[in-house]
């Protein structure tokens, strides 16, 4: 029988294998990077009916998160303020600003302003705001530096792996409960002596925290975790009830 395949075809299998390996690795890497919430969700910044500047309200004027999101400490759901809350001030301040027209229209008609929902958690996840903010998880941990945003964008991936990052190691995120709404808080702000007087220190600390110059996030977190007996669920039923 004559040779059916010419000599150059001998290299085809090897070439196919090499291309296959490259293609599979490339596809995996591309999926890992481009098809996950780290890439697909972060930076989502929809156009809102009113371009509400959090930076002006919080950082310049010093308003507290809870003035508008008033149920966050008491309810599972953190509310978006109703028009009446806006109009508490805006009947006096900036009352002719054209950007506020949708708020004034809502005030007159009674129809709510149609804000675009950014942090939309899927319906099979049970999330409770109160349970988190009352035990030292700051707004910052999930929503990023909202106090410096001129319009709100999605700052964290909000994937399940991201939730579990904290549920498995809460000490990396816990802070004193009076600093939960202070989005600029840093571990360096903590005064060790006062902190230890209030919360004590972990049993297995090994050294006296109150004598230290500064406390790290890990030291603060471990202390608070033990003090409040923080034990977040990592089983399925914890969040998917």
């Amino acid at each position: 029988m004559a040779n059916f395949f010419p000599r150059w075809t001998n290299w085809i299998p090897l070439k196919l294998v090499i291309c296959g390996i490259i293609a599979v690795c490339g596809l995996t890497a591309a999926t890992w990077y481009y098809a996950t919430p780290k890439y697909t969700k972060i930076g989502y910044e929809p156009i809102q009916p009113v371009p509400f500047p959090h930076d002006i309200h919080v950082s310049q004027l010093g308003m507290d998160c809870r003035y508008c999101h008033s149920f966050v400490e008491m309810a599972a759901h953190s509310n978006v303020p109703n028009t009446q809350t806006c109009m508490n001030c805006h009947t006096q301040v900036q009352k002719d600003n054209p950007k506020l027209e949708p708020v004034r229209a809502s005030w007159k008609t009674g129809n709510p302003v149609e804000w675009v929902w950014i942090y939309r958690t899927v319906d099979y996840v049970y999330y409770n705001h109160a349970a988190h903010v009352n035990r030292g998880i700051s707004c910052f941990s999930c929503h990023g530096p909202v106090n410096h945003m001129s319009t709100v964008y999605l700052a964290k991936p909000h994937s399940m792996a991201w939730c579990l990052e904290c549920h498995r190691h809460p000490e990396n995120f816990l802070r004193p409960e009076d600093q939960v709404f202070n989005l600029d808080w840093k571990p360096d702000d903590v005064k060790p002596a006062e902190f230890v007087a209030k919360y004590g220190q972990p049993q297995d600390a090994g050294e006296d925290f109150s004598k230290k110059q500064k406390l790290s996030q890990a030291e603060i977190g471990r202390t608070l975790k033990e003090h409040w007996n923080v034990n977040p669920p990592t089983n399925c039923q914890g969040c998917h009830r």
Binding site: F4, W32, A161, L164
Partner: protein, 482 residues
């Protein structure tokens, strides 16, 4: 015996009796084997093939429709309802995966034990294994309800931050079955390469030359080729031998590691493995007896082959009967009232006739016919027993699975399972998929391992031609690829 005078006739007779019955009858030579086996693939498909394929592929298509309907609508299309969460779906899974066991046993264990008679049946048994595992793999996937989530079983980094539960027997099952399938495919394909080269060399059209040329991987039949091939085959045989025992053991852990009476027993792994080989051999015969008759392969698949397979069925069938008996004994001897109730329920409960007919008659009694050599030699008796075993093994799995669940610990939960039309047609559909794949296999690939059968004929002996009074019967030197 020294010194004792023996008549020369007696010695001759004794020698005659001691001579092995040849594995290929009528002194068929290399050329005949090649022509006959390749001929099946090379001649146009006979009419019966088209009729059979039309029927089986229609069943397969309707089965796929049922699977699509079940996936798009939900598990509620089946009769499964608490407490019977596993019913026909898992029964079919265990049934098919069990059938897949004969292939590896024949190709790996019998190969390592130098059982040359395997060469006539190993190719089609291995093909049958692959097709059975394909049918089996459908069910665990679709019975979870959200088929598109089946990839959760693959341990890979993900956005959910979750990892597989490696303490779960169900997880081991995924790995056991996928390993088994992968190794079986490799084994089957490695064995096919010399035969694919034969078909390539005999091909008359460009398309066939091209396709067989690709799949024959440039096989030239050289000494080097054969050395590598035989080493690869030996290694794969060694690799698959533990799989014959492990796969169905792991399948049995799905049940044995739970707390359901009749499931929670230590006898399950060997019991399931014996049952799998039992059912697998019955299915091999079910497929090969008609194929042998249609393609006139009686000289290759001889009464001796059927006889040996019947003996294996008798052996494994007796293991199975022993295991059934032992289950009842332990139920009584343990003094566990739940266990006793469950086994009482097996004989006299809602599925009583499944037990009397399926387990007792089909699985325990019918193979006992094979104690008689005339039964092993009569193809109709053999076929009848094999059909009994095929049915009986399905009933056995159903009794174990659904029979264990219908009578829950809480009597208010008791509920008898009734299959829906989707249950029934999904099962018939997998029979269609299985038979369609097998029909395609015998159309497009050599159903008997030509190169291996040739090692079992007298011509394979290098001194064959020099034996006095015997002349070589290989004409024309056409056997380039062996």
């Amino acid at each position: 015996m020294d010194g004792a005078p023996t008549a020369p006739e007696t010695i001759k007779e004794a020698e005659q009796e001691l001579t092995r019955v040849p594995l290929v009858l009528h002194r068929r030579n290399f050329s005949w084997l090649t022509e006959r086996i390749s001929g099946v693939v090379e001649q146009p498909a006979p009419r019966w093939w088209w009729v059979a394929f039309a029927i089986t592929s229609s069943a397969a298509t309707f089965g796929l429709f049922c699977i699509g309907y079940q996936i798009s609508t939900g598990v509620g299309t089946w009769g499964n309802q608490i407490p019977v969460g596993w019913a026909w779906d898992i029964t079919n899974f265990v049934f098919w995966i069990g059938i897949g066991h004969a292939g590896t046993l024949i190709s790996a264990i019998l190969f390592l034990l130098h059982q040359k008679w395997r060469t006539s049946i190993n190719r089609s048994a291995e093909a049958m294994t692959l097709f059975a595992v394909i049918c089996a793999a459908i069910f665990p996937g679709i019975h979870v309800g959200r088929f598109w989530m089946a990839w959760y079983m693959a341990p890979m980094p993900n956005n959910w931050g979750i990892w597989q539960n490696f303490r779960s027997a169900l997880m081991w099952d995924v790995f056991a079955v996928s390993t088994y399938f992968t190794v079986s495919v490799l084994f089957w394909y490695t064995g096919l390469i010399p035969d694919l080269a034969t078909l390539r060399d005999r091909a008359t059209t460009k398309v066939r030359k091209f396709l067989f040329g690709i799949f024959a991987c440039g096989w030239r039949g050289s000494n080097r080729n054969w050395r590598h091939y035989e080493m690869a085959y030996l290694l794969l045989a060694g690799l698959s031998t533990p799989l014959v025992l492990s796969v169905h053991s792991v399948v049995s852990f799905d049940f044995a590691s739970t707390l359901i009476p009749t499931w929670h027993t230590t006898i399950f792994p060997p019991y399931f493995v014996a049952g799998a080989i039992f059912g697998g051999f019955a299915m091999v015969l079910t497929l090969l007896l008609p194929a042998r008759a249609i393609f006139k392969l009686h000289d290759v698949i001889t009464p001796q082959h059927v006889d040996k397979m019947a003996k294996i069925i008798l052996l494994t069938g007796s293991f199975v009967a022993y295991a059934y008996t032992m289950e009842f004994f332990v139920a009584w001897y343990s003094g566990n009232s739940y266990e006793k109730f469950a086994f009482w329920n097996r004989i006299f409960g809602p599925y009583w006739w499944y037990w009397w007919f399926g387990m007792l008659f089909c699985n325990c009694l019918s193979p006992q016919l094979f104690w008689f050599s005339w039964c092993r030699r009569n193809v109709f008796v053999v076929f009848f027993v094999c059909m009994c075993v095929n049915a009986g093994m399905w009933f056995e799995r159903f009794i174990i699975i659904a029979g264990g669940l219908v009578r829950d610990f809480l009597p208010s939960s008791w509920r008898v399972f009734h299959p829906t039309w989707v249950d029934i047609w999904t099962y018939i559909g997998t029979i269609g998929i299985f038979t369609s794949l097998f029909l395609l296999f015998i159309r497009f690939l050599p159903m008997i391992a030509m190169s291996e059968v040739k090692t079992a004929v007298p011509e394979a002996d290098p001194h064959y031609g020099t034996l006095p009074g015997v002349q070589s019967v290989s004409p024309g030197g056409k056997e380039r690829t062996r």
